[in-house]
Amino acid sequence: MFKNLSRKDRKNLIRIIVALVLFAAIMITDKIIVLGDVFEGPAAWALPFCLYLVVYLIIGYDVLWRAIRNIAHGQVFDENFLMCVATLGAFALAIYRGVTGQEIEGFDEACAVLLFYQVGEWFQSYATGRSRKSISALMDIRPDYANVVRGDGTTQKVDPEEVKIGDTILINPGEKVPLDGVITKGISTLDTKALTGESLPRDVETGGEVISGCVNLTSQLEVKVSKEFYDSTVSKILELVENASSQKSKAENFITKFAKYYTPIVCIVALLLAVIPGIVTGDWSTWIYRALSFLVVSCPCALVISIPLSFFAGIGAASRYGILVKGSNYLEKFNKANTFVFDKTGTLTRGNFAVAKIVPEERADEILHLAAIAERDSSHPIARSIVARYGKETEGGYTLTDVAGQGIIAQKGGDSMYCGNEKLMKANGIEFTTPEGVGTVVYVAKNGQYEGSILIADEIKPETKQVIGELNNMGCKTIMLTGDNQKIAASVAKDIGVTGYKASLLPQNKVEEVEKLLAAKGKNDVLCFVGDGINDAPVLMRSDVGIAMGGVGSDAAIEASDIVLMKDDLKGIPLAKRIAKKTMAIVMQNIVFSIAVKVAILILSAFGITNMWVAVFGDVGVAVLAILNAMRVNSKYRHN
């Protein structure tokens, strides 16, 4: 256990143990022979006082010193100072009892308060250090060095920050990819788990891109660097996670405000509690004692630590699953998210157009061949999918005419091929039949004769249905936005189970549509937009919570969104929702529990029902429990 402690924690632990042993020894001796009775006379209190003072100084010299120093700096409501006032006050009361000939007691209490205060401080330091470590395990993705290949063929280990664009680096098996780049030599597999939460390693080969933060598994790779370290994926992610805590949630702001007023108010009440009943009843020592108990509970540390820690743990937990949350406020908002707007292409569907059906089937090759001739030079995704499916070289020499919004006409000699949508067919007076099925239809005709049609469809992702179902079950609205026509949109919407859809939208209409939804929503509704980060940056920014999918390598998406799903997997959304829900539940528990216990202790000690022992246990205990509770956020979540 000792090995894992920081030097400071270890030193303080030893000090606490020494003081505890000494304290126990003195207290037991006191119980057996009663130290106050060892000497006779009015100064009999001096022996127990001196013995307890030794313990007090061992355990509290730093608190005393800080209190004096902070007072010199004008920091009145400083916890060190308040602790000193409470404990020294208790000492003074005990001396007063001794001098006035009452039963000698209270020295042990003053010592104990400071002792347990230190135990609590130590535990807080230990627990926050531990959770900081466990959360920042993600930070392990930071590469320590890069092997740069120099002009003379030698390699040199350098800081990744010194590597320039265009440099060649070697990545050995077991090493982290230090910078983004393109593989110039070698075939290997990469472990992307730290980045995306994806446990399946990824195969890469020459010409492929590598992303910094992955771990090279099997064999050496030679990579040409394409981005400087500052712009590399790993830097962007680290920056994002480290800065996540600066986007403060409402709960955190509430706590900061609360802490600002809590301590002064408790102190003022303590002062009033000592003075007013003191004057009225004349029983000064009782009321001063109660007031001192107040000061013990005056530090709001339990709240101030545990709330940000809960959020930090939530963000850390999410990042372990490849979900980057850009700030506590987004986690807080996302918990309330009840409207999910999805961009269809690339989000609910794979976004890769593929030939789904060719009609008539028995002449598939011929139709595909004709279409491939016409589409061979087009960069439209539909054209690419036809050429890809054909998979062979087509003969050239055709004059290709692009008819905007209709299709392509290919001509050579006396032959002319028509390849396009129904408008192209109608414009050229060709009769055609519409095939069954959902998707985009490309009609093919040759020399005025209808040949057949190709149905191109965008594949729905395998997890889409399950995720939409899960969100619907959580009571969320799910809305699909698409550029497809009404008929296709309706059919896809029914298939995947979204509660609403908007069809025939041009890219710029998406912003308008989201604006409309934002305007129509209630005050407590939170609208999330989920997109693939391509062309939807404005919508991502405009929505309450913007979620970008498949964020690895897409700077624009990382920048514009509030939550980034590093892995192109929709299941991250319900998972993030579960994490947000648990985080917020724990945050609420901590706020309510800490405030309730503190208030209860204050009331009880005002009426003299509890003493300083209970107060210090309550104060320190609450902090420890709240921290332990906060650490529960960073547990395992169901992910399937």
């Binding site: 400071k8 800080r66 120093r69 902070n70 700096h73 004008g74 920091q75 916890e79 401080e121 330091s125 926050t128 959770s131 900081r132 959360i135 920042s136 480290e242 800065n243 805590s245 600066s246 900061t256 802490a259 600002k260 530090c299 709001p300 540390c301 101030v304 630590i305 940000p308 820690l309 930090f312």
Partner: protein, 72 residues
């Protein structure tokens, strides 16, 4: 200009909040965030006077939490 600094021996969360409050009051500081958990401070301040402002930040920090060091 926005810059991040590591903090050493930042021991209490309430002090971090106090530090943040007093640094925010310094003239020329546009935004500041002291993260107790990350032991990090992010400051956004006027470009031209950044070093001068940082000197004041260090002073303010010393006043609130003398144990805490800003690693510049």
């Amino acid at each position: 200009m926005k810059k991040a600094f590591k903090l050493e021996d930042l021991d209490c969360a309430n002090c971090a909040a106090k530090m943040e409050r007093s640094i925010a009051k310094i003239d020329g500081v546009q935004s500041v965030n002291v993260s107790f958990i990350a032991q990090k401070m992010t400051i956004e301040a006027d470009d031209g006077r950044f070093e001068e402002i940082m000197d004041q930040v260090v002073k303010a920090c010393k006043k609130v939490e003398p144990d805490c060091k800003i690693l510049r």
